[in-house]
């Protein structure tokens, strides 16, 4: 499937800010079942964008904006070719519980952190799902995914990007990030390595939860086959209409954007994600490019009086984090 994704982010501020530094994790991964044919990144105010691979192999774009500004716009457009892996799950021979793991680095995907955290509620939840004796791992994973999908209500605005999995276990509601975190936590509790994936889902004519916004799901480690993706929000194996962007231990490793700026300002985030299936991709559009967007920067004299913070030393704010399928204007502070 040939998929084009356009991910627009607009951050606007109630007053001028300065010295923004930002990191973006918006470029789809280039992997066995997903080829990145094109990636265009447009950022305004105009600045130099550089990129590197982080320790998880995600492409990170970084930039800074020195002048005073009250808006930042980011448009990431990608074209990926995805391939499905039908019938794989039925062939898996792995048995639960898993024996000793061959790769010590998998320990990172068995550990709890601030979001994928252990709690008495998790113990209870896992207790109900724990198979007695041996079972096929693929079946166990399928049952966990189905149970999460069945027992929890998909609802926006209840949790936020910083919500630990214990919150959803408490009130039973959340969005794809919470669903993914819960599935990861459950599997880790059972000694099965699991990790977090951020990306997009293309609904086409079907109705998927999490379409037209950032989506999230998880990958489970099968010793015989490696990492395989599952989407607890939609109770399905991840197929060719998914675009994989970031890979991490939890959401904390892969926020689409993350930034720090100086200034006193309220922040408003507007996010739009559009996915479409392309019949073909022209040679001209293949590749990677950066484009500046015409968002203004101001010199201090433009609004002098409003800039008293420039003299204040302790004015440094974190940008809010947009999380997967969150209502686009939710406010944390």
């Amino acid at each position: 499937m040939l998929l084009r994704t356009t991910h627009k982010t607009r951050l606007s501020y109630s007053s001028l800010i300065g010295e923004t530094v930002m990191e973006l994790r918006m470029a789809p991964r280039h992997e066995r079942n997903q080829h990145r044919l094109a990636f265009d990144l447009a950022v305004g105010p105009a600045t130099e964008v550089r990129s590197y691979f982080d320790w998880l192999g995600n492409t990170v774009h970084v930039f800074s904006i020195g002048g005073f500004h009250d808006a930042i716009e980011i448009v990431a457009t990608s074209v990926v070719q995805t391939t499905a892996r039908p019938g794989l799950i039925e062939k898996l021979v792995d048995i639960f519980p898993l024996g000793p793991l061959d790769d010590y680095a998998l320990a990172d995907y068995l550990r709890f952190d601030m979001l994928v955290c252990d709690s008495p509620a998790l113990t209870d939840f896992v207790q109900k799902l724990r198979p007695r004796g041996e079972a096929r791992l693929a079946e166990v994973v399928g049952q966990i995914m189905a149970a999460i999908n069945r027992d929890f209500t998909y609802q926006g605005g209840v949790t936020n990007a910083a919500s630990p999995v214990s919150e959803m276990l408490g009130h039973g509601r959340g969005v794809c990030q919470d669903f993914a975190h819960l599935m990861i936590a459950t599997l880790r509790k059972l000694g099965v390595p699991a990790r977090y994936v951020s990306g997009y889902i293309h609904a086409g004519r079907q109705s998927y939860r999490g379409a037209a916004q950032s989506h999230a799901w998880c990958e489970v480690y099968f010793p015989s086959a490696g990492w395989l993706p599952f989407d607890p929000t939609n109770n399905c194996m991840v197929g060719e209409h998914f675009v994989k962007v970031g890979l991490g231990r939890s959401y904390r490793d892969v926020p689409p954007h993350k930034g720090v700026f100086r200034g006193f300002a309220d922040e408003n985030i507007a996010v739009e994600v559009l996915t479409e299936e392309l019949p073909e991709v022209s040679n001209r559009s293949v590749g990677e490019r950066f484009t500046p967007l015409g968002i203004p920067v101001y010199r201090q004299s433009a609004r002098g009086a409003a800039l008293r913070w420039a003299l204040d030393e302790q004015v440094q704010q974190q940008q809010q984090q947009q999380n997967a399928d969150r209502p686009v204007t939710d406010k944390i502070r």
Binding site: V21, T47, E48, W55, V62, S64, Y104, R111, V260, Q314
Partner: protein, 480 residues
């Protein structure tokens, strides 16, 4: 004045046996006796005045009596003969070389884990492992540019390594100041005793920092990054900046623009090449590490990763001074250098290992238990002095977080005479030499000799009420 001096069956630095000073101490011993109590007391007042006038202080956290303190100083110098020193020096060079190779290995190929020399669980479970550094190349592959290694001597006088401080070891400013004061108070003694000079340390430090500049052809802009005036080592930060002739800055003085670091100056922004940072990893970059930090520079990690700024020490060296990794340093030396370690470790039990933990829990009354990631002697249990309740509390903590603790047998540190009122008494000491890794490895001759000020106490940390004395490494000829 030495009449009532007790050896207590310990290893004494000055005396071979009661009343008989070691040969290389004879000059100092003679001089102390000749001076007599009155003159010594007077010189002591001179020294105290020097320290107070120069504002040589340190800060003790959680002390209600007052934050900034004068670092207690003992006038009697500690002497190390040239032969002894050359072994120490060799051992330290060997050690920092292996530790640097270890850091590079952990953040790249991890052959020491693949070869099963170290249990990967210990590395991956370490708080100080910086995954963000995986695959990042640091300038000239040096991670630990400045190292302070704590040495102690056991009852036989053997030098043992107690710990390596690979993050931002402090104390070197006191070594330099102690020496300056001693020179003023005992000018004649210095001339006769042939003491090796240490005054080139700031110069060597500057060279080590220049060595990693991303713009080697130009005169690099180097800064010392301090967390600020409330930090316990602020005096040292300002001292070293002044001695090196570089700017002392706080995080808010620096900023990232277009993938370079700039310093705000009265004449506009100036590009910074090397940051000698005395801010912990956690607080260094709110974008990468703790988001609530105001002490760092947002985005500095990205600039660092691109090679546009150098940091000393590198990010992630905490993995090398984790106390649960420390027991493996001799193995690292064998693995990376194919040499036998010159300086031995203190035997250590790793509570993360079931068998070790069992032993520790059964022998708490005779062990020293230390948290794996604290410095400055905070959070320790001295098993033989603790109450049963304290031991019980520690046992629970060890059981619930075994990875966070190690235990060691009590080592009876060597003692050294110090002035108490108008006579001499033995006090326990250790030694922290400072090692610089630049174009080559240089070890400052001597280092910080820390003194436990209470009789019988084994805790020498300045934060726990320890003092210091000048350390004299003697030149070769004296021992020929």
């Amino acid at each position: 004045m030495f009449d009532s001096y007790e050896m207590d069956g310990l290893f004494d630095e000055m005396f071979e046996k009661p009343g008989v000073p070691r040969q290389f101490y004879q000059l100092v011993h003679q001089r102390l006796i000749t001076l007599g109590a009155g003159a010594l007391a007077q010189r002591r007042r001179m020294a105290d005045l020097c320290f107070r006038n120069q504002g040589i202080t340190f800060t003790v956290y959680k002390d209600t009596a007052g934050v900034e303190k004068i670092f207690p100083f003992d006038l009697v110098p500690r002497l190390i003969p040239a032969v002894e020193w050359s072994t120490i020096e060799e051992g330290l060079v060997q050690r920092i070389t292996a530790l640097n190779m270890f850091c590079h290995d952990i953040y790249h190929r991890q052959s020491i884990l693949r070869e099963k020399i170290i249990d990967p669980e210990l590395i991956y479970g370490a708080k100080m492992l910086r995954r963000e550094m995986m695959g990042v190349n640091v300038p000239r592959d040096i991670y630990i540019h400045i190292c302070g290694t704590d040495l102690i001597r056991d009852a036989q006088g053997r030098y043992l390594v107690l710990e390596d401080n690979c993050r931002s070891p402090s104390g070197v400013s006191y070594v330099l100041e102690n020496r300056a004061v001693m020179k003023r108070v005992f000018p004649a003694l210095f001339q006769n005793a042939r003491v090796r000079a240490i005054e080139d340390y700031p110069h060597n430090l500057l060279c080590a920092l220049k060595h990693i500049s991303p713009r080697p052809s130009e005169t690099p802009c180097i800064v010392v990054l301090t967390p600020g005036v409330f930090n316990s080592a602020y005096f040292e930060h300002s001292f070293l900046a002044r001695q090196m002739g570089v700017e002392l800055v706080e995080g808010r003085d620096l900023l990232v623009e277009n993938n370079f670091i700039y310093m705000r100056t009265t004449t506009g922004l100036k590009r910074v090449d090397v940051i000698y940072r005395r801010v912990d990893d956690d607080f260094l970059d709110p974008l990468c590490f703790r988001p609530d930090s105001f002490l760092g520079i947002p985005g500095v990690m990205n600039v660092y990763r691109m090679g546009n700024v150098a940091l000393a020490n590198a990010v992630g060296t905490g993995i090398a001074d984790d106390k649960a990794i420390y027991p493996f340093v001799p193995d690292m030396i064998r693995f990376y250098l194919r040499q036998e370690p010159i300086l031995p470790n203190v035997p250590t039990y790793i509570c993360a290992r079931a068998a070790d933990r069992q032993y520790v829990l059964e022998h708490l009354h005779e062990l020293v238990v230390k948290p794996t990631n604290e410095a400055g002697g905070y959070g320790m249990l001295m098993g033989h002095q603790a109450t049963a309740a304290e031991r019980g509390e520690f046992a629970e903590r060890i059981k619930s977080e075994p990875r966070n603790f190690i235990a060691q047998p009590v080592v009876q540190l060597s003692q050294h005479p110090g002035i108490v009122d108008s006579h001499f008494e033995g006090r326990r000491i250790d030694l922290r030499p400072y090692i610089l890794c630049g174009q080559r490895v240089t070890v400052m001759p001597g280092g910080l000799t820390r003194v436990a000020l209470k009789k019988g106490s084994l805790v020498v940390n300045s934060s726990q009420g320890g003092g210091s004395k000048d350390t004299w490494v003697l030149e070769e000829e004296d021992n020929a």
